[in-house]
Symmetry: C2
Subunit: 563 residues, 2 copies
């Protein structure tokens, strides 16, 4: 039997506990110690917004395994409320301090795992220390926020930042009956995740459901009474009343310990690791939210802290520590979030990022029902597909809507990981039955539209381009080819608008002047595409259809918006 | 401009209308005629069970586009109630008969599309012509079945065949308040789709919900009163009362026309096509349910008639007819079906098929929640993963359960299509957020289990093997490592059973004799695997865990089954 090896793990969120359990299964005799500066380990931090919303009733529901179970099941020593202060790489020792009594101790290691996670950025704004202003990272944060919710009298909240945590908290506080205002410095919600179209549709849903959005604005100060926050002021001098404010402008890797130990850091301040999750010191591994991951598609490291990735890191680290050669191949940048009644996701590259990386980009914006409209519960999804028109490989995909978006994102994540072409996607043998999807899925339609666009068979404009053309009051015909019944419910009533149902386009086609610009519009884009084909075949020279149709239109309408 | 080309399409289900619309978009001037022996075209045949169940209220909801719309929008002539009788390949003509008056006519074609679909097999059983016995293919079938439902006084139905249509009809008739008995000649439900484990769990759900299953039995006769069916008798002499019987033992391609025209047929009686969907006559294309498709994974043609595949065929046919070189790459054998509260799906090869094709097969059976158990609506899914242990490529996947199985099947279908290895699946960057899945998805766990099994790190038995061991009353310890609370609710009370919660296994490990066989059991397999690791590390030689745990156990239990 080999010498008992000493493994020290710093951090007990997701990566650390995963590594600890796996190491134990692979190595019955190793001494494993996990050091954690909190009062608990191995809990579902991602579940905190649902604890705050009231869906999760007790903190215990979020705990995967407590410290006692780690000892009993895995014979892992868990030191709670203990902070790792310093790593002595030469001596292979970690100095730790017990927070209760400041006692210090040195822990020897043969292999060290750093999984210290990340911390929310708190901007140095005037009044930031007022009571009622909170970040969300750990269970006690959530409990303090719940206490603030219960104490709030005006039920008005400001959320600073429209990233993943920001929009999850917008949902949670809406569920708690708060009037929620989200302030975001960038010009759209989930800006680092979503392209403009998908972001705008998502933002529209948030405002439709009562969340106030202040985009392109920053909070410059908080003001309070008796030490309790009462309002926030933006750089546009808007004063937002609130008795609760959540700061969620981003998170940064916790790498002070690693940095002070002289480990190499990456450009996000992350602990640099190779694909074995090994730091610049071969006896020290790092994983979870304190490292960045290689994006397989861009070839660049990205900082995408997620519990899913952290678990995979922990598994790979354990394997390598125990002599099983294993690598973490990287990510494709998949993220998702539920925001009120919408499911929102993305994977791969965004359109702008793809262009910046030098790709010839072709995109399609395609809405559709997630299952046949005759089937109960059928709901709209809107998919944007991003393809390299030269290699024909899928580069990215995004989606939003009340329907089952995330299934399509997972399919695209898998496709992108494997280098699938848009042609293969068009014929992909996805599971088909009416309870689950339409005979041709929205993904198939999106693939076919990209193929038609690359081949020059489909000329389209995006809803945002239509908006600009209308704003400039350009001279063109906006040909709405929906039925009268549909148009009565909702329409774009512009001087350029002309209603002619698709069934009349063929018979009336000769009435159209050949040289006037025509933009065709329908509910989702398919009929408008057909109308454009018919008009073009009849010799109309300048005709395009609006991709995504009225479903993806985010401007004003007469009537009730489609989603 | 080229001469106006003449395209004739025989059959108006899914492939034909898809081809017609696409041809029109690609070729404004072609003459397109679609011949259909029914009263309608382009309807969702897959939706008929939901029309029968009452979810879909009117036949019009199932119609995608009617014949008039095809004329108005696409300028396609649709000849309803017209049967194609004969193809004269030399003269390039199709002889058609109008069913109303038997008038015949010859239709010239440059290119011909055969999409004649398939027909249900009706076995020559005594009494098969009695009123109340029906097949399901077309809208009028559904309407006649609805009339029979409304007229039924005893509300007892027999379904002959437990394939896709059979189980969908079991659901539909259960929804209509019928007592349903499904009779299936093979020894399990969905036998051509599902491996034993997944089929058995699905069958258990059906019986739990009140559907009676008669497996390994055939109906040998029907008996009636006044021409109306009253009972069916099986080859085991069981007499099943019924006032309604649905015959759904399989479907066969409708290829009489093609066969008589001398076109080459395949081994399923299908019209043989190349990957351009071209028959042995280069001017004749065929697609939809009358052709077989290449299974990309097995390299063999398979007859898997599905509306999804038919639509893709139609698209590829249209492209090729219009001079765009396009191929249909094939299928991976993906199918899914909702049966009562369970979602059931499969893709790729089944375990037995994979072995027959010469693969070294490794499998994993892994249940788990489809999202975190703290999140509202979390439901169980059970995934079986089938991998080639030499190439490490994923060969197949199957799933069942009340949770979101189909998302996982679609991910696997995509992975299998692209030749993904189990190692890549273990680290696949699937979208993670609590409303959608757990940090490590069941797919990740399944991949890791297969990897551990291939490496010899995990020794397991399947629930069915445990059943056999117990039936033989073998001498071993069945170590249930769940908590007392869990065991109080449901357990396997056998002489071999010993309860020892996982948290006690480590401390009590020395009490176990080293040479007695131990089989560990828990709810889903994970704790049992951990216990097996702990026991093995302590020198217990013969220890295995039950894959899938009690969740996948289909035998008797004391208490309430887990799913």
């Amino acid at each position: 039997m080999p010498d008992v090896r000493k493994i020290v793990i710093i951090g007990g969120g997701a990566c650390g506990p995963k590594a600890a359990a796996r190491i134990r299964r692979l190595d019955p005799t190793a001494s494993i110690t996990m050091v954690q500066d909190e009062t608990m380990v191995s809990y579902a931090g991602c579940g905190l917004p649902y604890f705050i919303s009231g869906m999760v009733k007790a903190r215990t529901e979020l705990i995967v395994r407590d410290a006692a179970a780690f000892k009993k099941i895995y014979n892992v020593d868990v030191w709670l409320k203990t902070r790792a202060e310093r790593i002595d790489r030469t001596a292979h020792k970690v100095q730790v301090t017990r927070l209760d009594d400041n006692a210090t101790r040195l822990l020897e290691y043969d292999k060290l795992v750093i999984s210290t996670g990340a911390h929310p950025v708190v901007p140095p704004i005037e009044g930031i220390d007022l009571k009622g202003i909170h970040i969300l990272k750990r269970v006690p944060d959530a409990e303090e926020i719940i206490a603030l919710i219960n104490a709030a009298t005006r039920k008005k909240a400001v959320i600073v930042g429209a990233g993943l945590i920001g929009v999850e908290m917008a949902e949670a506080l809406t569920a708690r009956g708060f009037e929620v205002t989200v302030v975001e410095a960038l010009d759209r919600v989930l800006a680092s995740l979503l392209d403009e179209e998908i972001s705008d549709i998502t933002a529209k849903h948030m405002t439709d459901k009562g969340v106030k959005l202040k985009l392109g604005q920053k909070i410059v100060s908080f003001a309070g009474v008796d030490g309790q926050v009462r309002s926030a002021t933006t750089d546009k001098n808007e004063v937002l009343e609130c008795d609760l404010a959540i700061v969620a402008i981003g998170i940064r890797p916790d790498t002070k310990l690693a940095s002070e130990a002289g480990l190499k850091l990456g450009r996000f301040g992350d602990i640099e690791v190779n694909n074995h999750m090994q730091t610049s010191d071969p006896d020290i591994y790092a994983g979870g939210d304190c490292v960045a991951s290689l994006n397989i598609i861009s070839g660049q490291k990205e900082f995408v802290p997620l519990g899913s990735t952290a678990n995979k890191h922990g598994h790979v680290i354990a394997n390598n520590i125990c002599g099983i050669d294993d690598t973490f191949p990287g990510i494709v940048g998949t993220s998702c979030v539920k925001i009120l009644d919408f499911n929102v996701g993305r994977t791969g590259l965004g359109e702008k990022q793809a262009r910046e990386l030098g790709h010839d980009v072709a995109v399609a914006l395609v809405p559709g029902p997630d299952k046949p409209e005759y089937y109960a519960g059928s709901s709209e999804i809107i998919i944007k597909l991003i393809v390299d028109s030269r290699t024909r490989k899928i580069l990215g995909g995004q989606g939003t809507g009340p329907g089952d978006v995330i299934k399509r994102i997972d399919v695209l994540a898998t496709a992108i990981t494997m280098g699938m072409t848009v042609d293969a996607l068009a014929n992909l043998d996805l599971a088909y039955a009416p309870p689950y999807n339409t005979a041709l899925d929205v993904l198939h339609h999106a693939a076919n539209l990209v193929i038609n666009k690359i081949a020059g068979r489909a000329q389209s404009i995006r809803p945002a381009e239509l908006k600009e053309k209308l704003a400039r009051n350009e001279d063109f015909t906006l040909l709405d080819v929906r039925t009268h019944l549909e148009a009565d419910k909702v329409s774009l009533e512009k001087p350029q608008t002309q209603l002619l149902p698709l069934t009349k386009v063929t018979s009336d086609v000769e009435k159209f002047p050949k040289d006037k610009e025509i933009v065709t519009l329908c509910r989702r884009g398919q009929r408008a595409y057909q109308a454009a084909c018919t008009l073009k075949a009849a010799g109309v020279n300048n005709v395009k259809f609006v991709e995504g149709g009225l479903t993806c239109w985010c401007g004003e309408v007469s009537g009730t918006p489609l989603i």
